[in-house]
């Protein structure tokens, strides 16, 4: 079993700063501790897959990274800059909302339930952050939006409202909306699990395309084939701990952890 209290060794060895570093992150809902000291590094260009049983804290961890949840202890750094909290006078304080918003703008997030703005067309959904957060002129924002909608295969659907799109199409718009902002990192939380089976592939295809283009991604997924194919590293969480991590081939071939072995056992067929 690996020591989950220490960031993994890759960046320490090279001396380079990781893109994202989480150190000993603790998070509780009231008295229920959900994250019990999560530490991990994510390197530039890496596709990190987060796997684990239901309730192990994967969603919670992603939400902490994007500051949608507060966490009580530990630190998350993006490009070496602490996220969400600052030490002032020896006390840990949440940073002001405006600064939080600026930090969130550097991290993209794609949700399980798409969460497109219902009153905006696909194109307007992608443009909103570009104009209001990035301050781009409308014409430039429109060009960028069209470029990304084309990239996710929705060039002809740009004038459609969310209710006029299938789940898979909505999710691809949501991906375009996230990546058009040119974030340092994109978080994907089970983005295919609300989709009909026949729509899963089109979304995974877009994600694979992004991964190949060098986008840094943290992907929570139960699609083990996808994880094995696309992830550069897999982190297995259990009960609010990181229990095992490594490249998918090694980790899946002979899992040292008993918990991981039993978790993977549910996906037999994929690993034989």
């Amino acid at each position: 079993m690996q020591n989950h209290m220490k960031p993994n060794a890759t960046s320490a060895a090279t001396g380079a700063m990781p893109l994202l570093r989480a150190v000993d992150v603790h998070k509780s809902y009231d008295r229920l501790e959900v994250l019990k000291g999560i530490s991990m590094d994510v390197e530039q260009g890496e596709v990190l897959a987060l796997i684990g049983a239901s309730g192990s804290g994967k969603t919670t961890f992603l939400r902490c990274i994007n500051l949608l949840e507060e966490f009580q202890q530990g630190e998350i750094d993006l490009d070496g800059e602490p996220i969400g909290y600052r030490m002032t006078g020896g006390r840990r304080r949440k940073i002001p909302e405006a600064a939080l918003s600026a930090q969130r703008a550097r991290i993209g997030m794609v949700f399980q339930s798409f969460n497109l703005f219902p009153h905006m067309t696909a194109e307007q959904n992608v443009m909103l952050g570009l104009t209001k957060v990035r301050g781009k002129p409308a014409a430039e924002a429109r060009d960028i939006a069209r470029h990304w909608l084309e990239r996710v295969g929705l060039a002809e659907r740009r004038g459609h409202y969310p209710f006029q799109l299938s789940g898979g199409q909505q999710q691809r718009v949501a991906i375009a909306r996230a990546v058009a902002m040119e974030p340092r990192l994109v978080l994907f939380d089970e983005v295919t699990s609300a989709l009909d089976p026949e729509l899963v592939a089109e979304v995974l295809g877009v994600m694979q395309d992004l991964a190949r283009s060098g986008m840094t991604m943290i992907v929570v997924s139960h699609e083990m084939l996808f994880v094995r194919e696309v992830a550069s590293r897999v982190v297995f969480m259990d009960g609010g701990h990181v229990v095992a991590q490594g490249p998918p081939q090694e980790l899946f071939r002979d899992p040292e952890s008993e918990r991981l072995r039993s978790f993977l056992g549910r996906f037999h067929g994929v690993f034989s």
Binding site: N66, L67, L68, E97, A98, S101, A102, R104, A105, R106, I107, G108, M109, F111, S113, N115, L116, F117, P118, H119, L128, G129, K132, V133, Y161, P162, F163, A174, R177, A178, M181
Partner: protein
């Protein structure tokens, strides 16, 4: 047999005045709705903000307005305020003020329910792309709330339009007042009241029809 001989001549002769009166009524309703919506949005945000005293103050305003007859409010503002030394308003302004405060109380509740019904996911998506709090309200929360509450806004406009007839009580020359004047001057009771009723009915239907089109245009939320 009806012992009443209809004579519509007086109505035709007064037609321009009648139409002017009708337009005034529509104007009063629209102005009050617009101001009432602004009051309502501010109050709705005030209530969902977690300031206890603000919440209490707005709750008191809403309860007071909703449990007081409108006619009494009209009298209070028109006759009461000057007694207290506030003589800034003529009768039309005084009536708009009253009807706006009245509409504001109702719209506050409509918007509060609208805000509560907006799924938090939209707000989280807005957060995730880095929109600031006021931008999230302006570009996501308010437009979605507006679409959700549009049917209630339509209904409020129609009932405000009918409520403008109460302005007759302070001699604002809207439709009811004008009908009563024709009645008093010519004794054509049935013609005056039937014309007024027909115009209220037709206008209410017309407003409903226009707003149905607006609703259809904006009903992008399923």
């Amino acid at each position: 047999m009806l012992a009443y001989n209809f004579n519509w001549d007086v109505i035709w002769r007064q037609w321009p005045t009648i139409i002017e009166a009708l337009l005034l009524g529509i104007g009063l309703a629209v102005a009050s709705l617009a101001i009432g919506c602004i009051i309502g949005i501010l109050c709705a945000f005030g209530r969902v903000s977690r300031h206890k005293w603000l919440d209490w103050a707005i709750w008191s305003y809403v309860e007071f307005i909703r449990n007081t007859p409108l006619l009494l409010l009209i009298f209070f503002v028109y006759f009461g305020l000057p007694q207290m030394g506030i003589r800034a308003f003529d009768k039309i302004e005084s009536f708009i003020l009253t009807l706006s405060l009245y509409a504001g109380a109702y719209m506050c509740e409509v918007f509060r329910a609208g805000l509560a019904s907006i799924p938090n996911q939209y707000v989280e998506a807005a957060k995730a792309i880095g929109l600031r709090p006021w931008q999230r309200q302006l570009y996501v929360v308010l437009p979605v709330m507006f679409r959700i509450t549009l049917p209630s806004i339509s209904n409020t406009l129609i009932s405000l339009f009918k409520d403008t007839s109460l302005a007759a009580a302070i001699a604002v020359p809207e439709l009811t007042f004008t009908a009563r004047q024709i009645n008093a001057n010519t004794f054509r009771v049935m013609e005056a009241w039937l014309t007024a009723s027909a115009l209220y009915l037709a206008t209410s239907y017309a407003i409903a029809w226009v707003l149905r089109l607006v609703e259809r245009r904006y009903s992008v939320i399923r």
